[in-house]
């Protein structure tokens, strides 16, 4: 009877079953990560090592990208606001755009492509070279010893990276508008100070970056752990990490923005 179904319908059915199966596996995986997280805090140096791997090693790309995004934002903002005689408001524009949206979102996309892909590759290769199995046979739980510290390292890195991205962006905006174009420095900072709200803007931005950090790290680790133990399998897993993380970040950003800034 199943054979009588059109090929397209069968394909949709198979893909749906696979997607549900993977969702179940991912939920079980994250459950185990949470359950075995004790060691990540009892031996906090394991988490610090991963914080270095995911966070410190991503600093260069975050700092440089943040600076350039700020430079472009300052330039575009100044050119637009000048037409309406409110060039001094450029500080507000740069700060709000970065703190509310660009900081968490762009930092998360960069984090996914730099640290997320590296986590997937590391875990995938550890699996394909039987390092995880070897650990299990040495009575060392890979979830407790490797995967949970990686998760918490990534989770803690992301808000810090997003904050650094925003700071560098604001500095880039200041550099282009105040130092180079000549907008009044006092106006730049005072307008920013009066219009950026700690709870509505900064705290919400931090919440976004925490959610993105959890999502990207969870996707990266699951893809690495679930990768078929071959070179091709690991390579596909890395690609899936970057694509899925990017889509997840953008979708989550829409949902969070709708709740945080529009009163939905």
């Amino acid at each position: 009877m199943l054979r009588a179904l059109p090929g397209g319908l069968r394909l949709v059915g198979r893909r749906t079953i696979n997607a549900v199966w993977r969702l179940g596996s991912a939920s079980r995986f994250m459950g185990l990560v949470m359950l075995r997280s004790g060691l990540s805090f009892r031996r906090f140096h394991l988490t610090i090592d991963e914080l270095h791997f995911a966070g410190v090693l991503s600093l260069i790309i975050i700092i440089v990208s943040g600076l350039f995004v700020g430079l472009v934002l300052g330039l575009q903002g100044y050119e637009t606001l000048k037409r309406y005689g409110s060039a001094e408001a450029v500080g507000t524009l740069v700060a709000l755009a970065l703190v509310r949206e660009l900081g968490p979102v762009v930092a998360a996309l960069l984090f996914a492509s730099r640290a997320g892909s590296a986590m997937t590759a590391e875990l995938g290769i550890m699996k394909s070279t039987e390092q995880l199995s070897a650990m299990e046979m040495m009575a060392v739980d890979p979830f407790a010893r490797v995967i949970s510290p990686m998760f918490w390292g990534g989770f803690l890195s992301m808000p810090l990276l997003a904050a650094i991205f925003s700071v560098m962006g604001i500095f880039g905006g200041y550099l282009i508008t105040v130092v180079i174009i000549g907008v009044d420095s006092g106006a730049f900072w005072s307008q920013m100070q009066s219009s950026v709200d700690l709870r509505d803007d900064i705290v919400n931005g931090v919440i976004k970056s925490v959610v993105f950090g959890a999502a990207v790290t969870a996707i990266a680790l699951f893809e690495g752990y679930d990768a078929p133990p071959t070179a091709e399998g690991v390579s596909h897993a890395v690609t899936r990490t970057v694509v899925t993380s990017a889509l997840a970040v953008l979708a989550l950003d829409f949902v969070l923005t709708a709740f945080m800034f529009t009163g939905v």
């Binding site: 290769i125 070279t129 039987e130 390092q131 199995s133 070897a134 299990e136 046979m137 040495m138 009575a139 060392v140 739980d141 010893r145």
Partner: protein, 241 residues
């Protein structure tokens, strides 16, 4: 199948016959659909997560390509189980690691990274790591694969010597008939997931059982056919049967 204390026992058979699966069943990485695996009289299937990990502390396993942690040095690889499972001071861990590395002849390679080791050296480091906690059971998954004859001899010799020195039990999954028959006390032959023959090395060499005879003497055709199942050759060429 039984693996008595103090013995070196080999499991042989063609690829895909379930040899490595036996090791994974013993280590509790797989659960059996039927039958029972007992280690030290305790059924592995019924063990909780904690009991399983407690049992594994008494086991060592050498993986096919060593499975060394690539970000750690040779010294740190061997020290890994000691640091994870004991609270020994670092000075004592250093002494123990050097003793294990000396036993496999690689004390001088302690500072190297796995990427700097040859296949045989990596296997020896993995062996030192597997015996770091003086296990009662050591399992070897294809320990001779891809090694030159000198390394094969060294690994074979180490397996026997370490087993006798530790008073442990060793289970070797291997294809290498010549080397393994020199060191083992007993052999099981698997085919299609079943034990098809067993015996001492002497019995195995003299056996007339067709599968074992083909395997031990490396004959191309026999109970394990040379040709993979296919239609008649003439039919495939389009010239009739």
């Amino acid at each position: 199948m039984a693996f008595p204390r103090g013995k070196v026992i080999a499991i042989m058979g063609g690829s895909g016959t379930g040899k490595t699966t036996v090791l994974r069943l013993i280590g509790g990485q797989l659960k059996p659909d039927g039958g029972e695996v007992r280690v030290d009289a305790n059924p592995v299937r019924d063990m909780s997560h904690a009991e399983l990990y407690a049992m594994r502390r008494k086991m060592g396993m050498l993986f096919q390509f060593g499975a060394l942690f690539t970000d750690l040095s040779v010294f740190d690889n061997v020290a890994f189980p000691l640091r994870e499972h004991t609270r020994l001071p670092e000075s004592m861990i250093r002494d123990l690691v050097l003793m294990k590395l000396n036993a496999v002849g690689l004390r001088g390679a302690q500072a190297l990274k796995p990427a700097e080791l040859s296949g045989g050296m990596a296997r020896r480091v993995a062996l030192a790591r597997a015996i770091a906690l003086d296990p009662m059971l050591i399992m070897y998954d294809e320990p001779f694969t891809g090694l030159d004859p000198i390394s094969v001899g060294i690994i074979g010799n180490l397996i026997r010597r370490l087993n006798d020195a530790l008073g442990a039990t060793s289970i070797i999954v291997t294809h290498d008939v010549q080397e393994s028959l020199k060191i083992e006390d007993y052999v099981y032959f698997l085919s299609g997931g079943h034990v098809v023959a067993e015996g001492t090395p002497q019995q195995v060499i003299q056996t007339t059982e067709p599968f074992v005879h083909q395997f031990v003497h490396g004959e191309a055709d026999g109970p394990v056919p040379f040709h993979y199942g296919a239609p008649a050759f003439g039919e495939d060429l389009g010239i009739g049967r």
